[in-house]
């Protein structure tokens, strides 16, 4: 046994060296290269969403693999760093990208890891463009962080608006303890809902659950006994199907609503017919294809690229695509691979035509978007319900 183990260790170490060399030889290309860092969770709690966002970026890279800087053609190299949905890992993963000399960073799915990494990118003077991180904290007070999606206060208002339009007078909110996305969005929804109904007691039940919790019966029983008109559950895709299913099992019939994370085929796969009728807000819908030629081109191209891997185009993939394209646009206008120059170009971005809408950055670096898509699940598919615009 001892000998075998020594051998095993040797083989591992050897293969490690080989891999190290293999990786090294790839860089020795003649052509000029600009590196774009991709900072996404590929494992851990948000691994699924991170992979979808990465797909959108990879697709964008295949559509536009080069960029012209100062009259010279540069090949874009994607440097991928897995932040494991974990903040301690995220800090090192972010530094890894800085060390690799990337000019701009895209990501991450999940706001918490972006918040940690933000300071590191700022210190290194590398601009970062978030695709789907919706928490206000990501860009606030960080002049190097941008994002192409809307923010949670906006999203909370949109969902509250929709619920009230459909006759809801009371709501229950269930959020995940220790998760800034869930807690933040839940709280913004509560504020908006109370404001819009003008009733301070309209949130009849406010419950929290814990990461890796699998049994929600007790919480849902509390909700059921209060009999709310809607139940709002901003949560990760890991817990959403469990909550939806268990809620239906114990007989909660009120509409269950979620945020942008819910637009993921996993939810329908896992919750099955019980997912029918859930409502969620998101960034993008294939149905918007006719709104602009760019969107149409993307929808067609990406559907082909996916080759049936997903039932529909995830919104985060579209945002990942937009983040990449905005970055390239800024690099071209900056005419430089320097972080500071690209940042200034990003600030100056004007009316960039993205597939998820026109992008202009405000003073925080957030895309000024006033449109969200409300979707539902019908016949085992995400169906477009309406576009909500809030001024």
């Amino acid at each position: 046994m001892r000998k075998i183990s020594v051998l095993l260790v040797l083989v591992l170490v050897l293969s490690a060296f080989m891999a190290g060399c293999g990786g090294g030889s790839g860089d020795a290309d003649e052509a000029k290269v600009i590196k774009i860092g991709i900072f996404e969770p590929l494992t851990g709690e948000n691994g699924g969403g991170g992979a979808q966002e990465l797909d959108g970026m990879k697709y964008a890279n295949s559509v536009r693999p080069t960029v012209t800087i100062g009259g010279e053609e540069y090949t874009v190299e994607l440097v991928i760093s897995d932040n494991k949905s974990d903040k301690t890992e995220a800090a090192t993963a972010a530094n890894y990208l800085v060390d690799k000399g990337v000019s701009v960073v895209l990501g991450s799915y999940g706001s918490g890891v972006s918040i940690v990494a933000g300071d590191i990118f700022k210190e290194a003077g590398i601009p970062a463009i978030g695709a789907s991180c919706t928490n206000p904290q990501v860009t606030k007070g960080n002049e190097f962080y941008f994002r192409v999606c809307f923010l949670d206060p906006f999203q909370g208002t949109v969902i509250a608006n929709y619920a009230i339009q459909n006759g809801a007078k009371t709501a229950a909110v269930i959020t995940q303890l220790g998760d800034d996305y869930s807690t933040g969005l839940g709280s913004f929804f509560e504020t908006a809902f109370k404001d819009l109904t003008g009733d301070a007691n309209s949130i009849v039940s406010s419950q929290t659950f814990q990461q890796n919790q699998a049994d929600f019966n007790a919480i849902l029983q509390n909700v059921k006994s209060k009999n709310p008109d809607v139940v709002f559950v901003p949560s990760s895709i890991t817990t959403a199907p469990l909550i939806i299913q268990q809620a239906r099992d114990i007989g909660i019939t009120a509409p269950i609503m979620g945020g942008d994370t819910w637009e993921n085929a996993t939810i329908i796969e896992n919750a099955g017919e019980k997912a029918e009728g859930i409502v969620l807000s998101t960034f993008f819908d294939e149905g918007l294809a006719d709104s602009s030629p760019i969107t149409k081109e993307f929808v067609e191209g990406y559907t082909q690229y996916l080759a049936g891997r997903e039932a529909s185009i995830p919104a985060v993939a579209a945002l990942g695509y937009d983040a990449y394209m905005v970055a390239l646009d800024a690099i071209e206008r900056a005419g430089s691979t320097e972080g500071a120059a690209i940042r200034d170009a990003l600030v100056a971005t004007k009316d960039f035509e993205g597939v998820t809408g026109t992008i202009n950055f405000d003073e925080n670096g957030d895309a000024m978007k006033n449109m969200a898509v409300i979707k539902t699940v019908m016949d085992g598919k995400f169906q477009f319900l309406q576009v909500v615009e809030v001024k």
Partner: protein, 366 residues
């Protein structure tokens, strides 16, 4: 072979000066990069936390799994007390900070010390009932306390102080690599002195045989409590350093997995060896980064090796650790400490071994 005292002193001085020069160069960007600086910083912090855990587990023989909780206390104390006052509304954006605290900003050093004291007081309080428990019961009880601390921090009731689920950001980072390094080294040195003192000998006696130790007149409870409290103090200091290292704190950073990772550091280094823990802290922190390329797709020519995809790194990492646990149970250093004599003897033995191996076939030929 025993080296002369003066030779050893010279060697040690050379080593320390070389380390200082290297750190100075790292700090000023002469060598390495911000990535290297980060890994070195993290290694030093983990070394401090590792030694603090080793003090209880390796030297006193108490199986405690509460390190993550004490780290959380330290990290949160530093986080809450050092955010610049003008940035606080940004951080506490859902619920404003408690009024008594909102304008209290203390220097990093004071916050760090306070964090350590809080953790030590907490450890002394829970030590009274918990330390009477036997090995595995103690493990599970300390693990429980660490989870309870985490739950209290993350819940709404304490949100005006800890910001609940949202965590804390905008914690001022280190200005120089020497800050965490100096604090870690000082902490480790203090614990080393404690272990060398008569208290340390009592700890080891308890580890070897509790009943015999008690019969020898060692006050079991007093010594266990001392070891546990000191360990909690330095774990919290390490946690505080971690908060400044990451510039953000969050209750999810202090889950059971963190305690397990530190446990694996002290196992690799050797339970009961301070230098072993330090070496292992560096090996594991750097090793985890070094293995990172396992996660990327890997090509030999045009052929993509199918096994390389995200997650492989951690599998290899855990396999290596299992191999250590099973086949090199004593870890790198066992209960020994690093010494120049040890190094020279090792090379001597190696030399002898090689000579013997070379001679053997020759004799057979004759």
């Amino acid at each position: 072979m025993v080296l002369k005292k003066s030779t050893k002193a010279i060697l040690t001085t050379v080593l320390v000066v070389a380390a200082l020069v290297l750190l100075y160069m790292l700090d000023n960007g002469v060598i390495g990069s911000s990535y290297t600086v980060r890994i070195v910083r993290l290694s030093f912090i983990y070394a401090l936390i590792g030694v603090s855990m080793n003090l209880v587990n390796g030297f006193t023989g108490l199986f405690s799994l509460g390190q993550a909780g004490f780290m959380a206390i330290g990290a949160y104390t530093v986080g809450v007390l050092t955010i610049p006052v003008d940035l606080r509304p940004n951080v506490y954006y859902l619920k404003p900070m408690a009024e008594g605290l909102a304008n209290v900003e203390v220097p990093f050093g004071v916050a760090l010390l306070l964090g350590g004291i809080f953790a030590a007081v907490f450890a002394a309080l829970i030590g009274a009932p918990v330390l009477r428990l036997k090995s595995d019961y103690l493990a599970i009880a300390t693990l429980g306390f660490s989870e309870i601390i985490r739950a209290i921090i993350a819940n709404d009731q304490l949100a005006p102080i800890t910001n609940g689920s949202l965590g804390i950001k905008s914690v001022p980072g280190f200005t120089s690599i020497f800050v965490p390094v100096a604090i870690s080294v000082a902490g480790i040195a203090i614990m080393a002195l404690l272990i060398k003192s008569s208290y340390g000998r009592a700890f080891k006696a308890i580890r070897e045989d509790e009943i015999a130790a008690e019969a020898m007149g060692i006050n079991l409870f007093k010594h266990k409590e001392l070891s546990f409290t000191v360990s909690a103090f330095f774990a919290a200091i390490g946690g505080g350093l971690l908060a400044a290292h990451l510039t953000a704190v969050d209750s999810n950073q202090f889950k059971i997995m963190v305690t397990f990772e530190i446990l694996l550091i002290i196992v690799l280094g050797g339970m009961g060896s301070i230098t072993g823990t330090c070496i292992a802290a560096f090996a594991i922190t750097a090793g985890k980064e070094w293995l990172r390329f396992f996660d990327a797709p890997f090509f030999i020519g045009a052929w993509q090796v199918p096994l390389f995809r995200p997650g492989l790194r951690m599998v290899i990492f855990s396999l290596l650790l299992m191999a250590i646990v099973l086949f090199y149970r004593r870890g790198l250093m066992g209960t020994k400490e690093f010494s120049w004599d040890g190094i020279f003897n090792f090379f001597h033995r190696l030399q002898d071994e090689i000579r013997r191996r070379l001679k053997k076939p020759a004799r057979e030929v004759q």
